[in-house]
Amino acid sequence: MMDFINFYLIPGITLGSIYALGAVGVSMIFGILRFAHFAHGDLMTVGAYFALSAVWLLGIPALAAIPIAMALTCLVALFADRAFYKPLRQLPTIYTVIASFGVALIFRSVIQLLWGTESQVYSVGFQKPIVLFDSLRIATRHIQIIAATAVITVALNWFLHHTQMGKTMRAVSDDPALASVAGLDPEKTIRWTWIIGAGLAAIAGVFVGLDTDVHTMMGWNLLLPMFAAALLGGIGKPLGAIAGGLIIGIAEEICTYPILGESLISPSYKSAVAFVIMLLILIFRPRGLFKGRLL
């Protein structure tokens, strides 16, 4: 039982937290700008590499580098929006999807040019896990990631329900025509969507680097579970996306747990779990668990 918690459940929640932070952006962009942002995974990679540079240049720990990474990643996202997405805003959104596919490639190739393709780590050395109640062993990085995600969830909830911009965002996501008639400024809403989406993506990217390592394909590989999490939570429902991310992260880890000596699926097929969940959602509950939009 303790093995299950230590080696499957806690890593599952950690992975789920990372998916959750990425999925919030995917869900909000899909809800407000109405397109599936294929460059979101690579935006995470961008954040992770900015943090890596901060760690190298300033000699600070990775966690302290997060604000720098967030700020720079937001600038990158705003620039990408201005240069590549905004010119296509009046067209059918599928053109923006195609553009984001290209932006993903641009992000990745620039990272490969500037930082090289070798895997990097924020800090070397083995961290001793913390032992609670004699048998519960949690790695420090897992505690950090899970606690930070919890704090962010609370803050995001407050932002969406108690600030003017948060309310505007939910309104635009629910009914863009009505929101625009009511005089809400769409471009300003879009800017804030990018700021929040990119900021959380940067945090998620740094967390991936803390949990494993930093490499140029890290974000692209996470795109599928993030899409699945956003769909599971319901498009345009950021808190739903967090729940979706956690469910998918936990499901991926638990599916490899050996029940009766045999694991449900081979660990090499872990990423298929997200895909299967995504298909099931599209077939049976296309609006997600929390009644998101069906676009």
Binding site: I94, V97, F101, G102, L231, M278
Partner: protein, 317 residues
């Protein structure tokens, strides 16, 4: 380079250009005719390549088969299997906005890649399938066999083009365009939007599978590395949009022109000092990404914009 060397460089260029032309024509059937976004071309390509490789290669201890069957059988099976995968994914997604199909198709490509790497009994894992035959190999060797293969590929391109052209001009093609441009209007005159969309996705998937099969025969060896999404999915999208989506001539022209640019940049970057040569592939990726943005913003109709065939409507009094 002497003349015959140049000539054979041209032949090998046209072979790859032909394979990309088939992919582009297939993508045009999905996107150009029906507005269906397929982000998982590499997956269908891999299904086709592996089916053909396993069916036509000689018996091997490393993977299932090979069944040593004729190449034509391999091509047909490649198309059918790829079509079935396309049908399964389209059935689930086409009733939703195009973005969902994009997400699901990128997922299916990912799962296929995982399966290809992990199911060693089927595909020999990352080591790949080798000794895949080329047509008429017993009679021609070396450069002659390249030439034969070149003819073979372009016969397939011609068939694909003919199918695409007939589909485009047919009543079926007209319905597809109507659905693409105004779904509600098409539905209101009684067209079954979903089944038309599924059909166009499946037909495109079949030809993507055939293109995969062609490349397996060309390289005589196929491993998961050859299904790199960047080189298949992404390049095909750039080719189609630059060439002119909706226009079959544009699809072929786009494939050849972009493949020419892509191959030429490789020749140029090979001249660079070794330190830069390794980085040059990222520069190429960056440039192709920027090129796509340029085409999308300034040049959306492509080199050969779509020209819908004239309606032959007789006026009544």
């Amino acid at each position: 380079m002497e003349l015959s060397g140049m000539l054979f460089y041209l032949v090998s260029f046209l072979i790859m250009g032909g394979i990309y032309s088939v992919i582009c024509l297939a993508l045009n059937m999905q996107w150009g005719f029906g507005g269906l976004f397929n982000a998982g071309i590499a997956g269908f390509y891999a299904v086709g390549a592996y089916s053909a490789a396993i069916i036509t290669s000689a018996n091997s201890a490393n993977h299932v088969g090979g069944f040593d069957l004729p190449i034509v059988v391999g091509l047909i099976v490649a198309g059918i299997l790829s079509g079935i995968v396309g049908w399964a994914i389209a059935r689930i997604c086409v009733r939703l906005k195009a973005d969902y199909l994009a997400m699901a198709s990128i997922g299916i490509a990912e799962i296929i890649r995982l399966a290809v790497i992990n199911e060693e009994w089927l595909t020999n894992g990352s080591l790949g399938v080798s000794r895949i035959p080329r047509p008429l190999e017993d009679f021609f060797t070396g450069r002659e066999s390249e030439l034969v293969f070149f003819i073979f590929v372009w016969i397939i391109v011609a068939i694909t083009f003919w199918v695409a052209h007939r589909l485009y001009k047919s009543p079926w093609g007209r319905v597809m365009r109507a659905i693409r441009d105004n779904e509600a209007a098409a539905e209101s005159v009684g067209k079954d939007v979903q089944s038309f969309r599924i059909q166009s996705f499946v037909i495109g998937a079949i030809f993507m599978g055939v293109a995969g099969a062609l490349s397996a025969h060309y390289f005589k060896f196929f491993s998961p590395d050859a299904t790199e999404p960047l080189l298949i999915t992404f390049l095909a999208w750039v080719m189609l949009i630059a060439g002119g989506s909706g226009n079959n001539k544009g699809a072929v022209a786009g494939a050849l022109i972009i493949w020419a640019i892509w191959s030429m940049t490789e020749i140029i970057t090979q001249q660079l000092p070794p330190d830069w040569a390794t980085r040059s592939s990222y520069i190429r990726m960056l440039l192709i990404g920027l090129f796509l943005q340029f085409v999308l913003q300034r040049f959306r109709a492509g080199l050969f914009p779509e020209k819908a065939p004239k309606l032959n409507v007789k006026s009544h009094g």
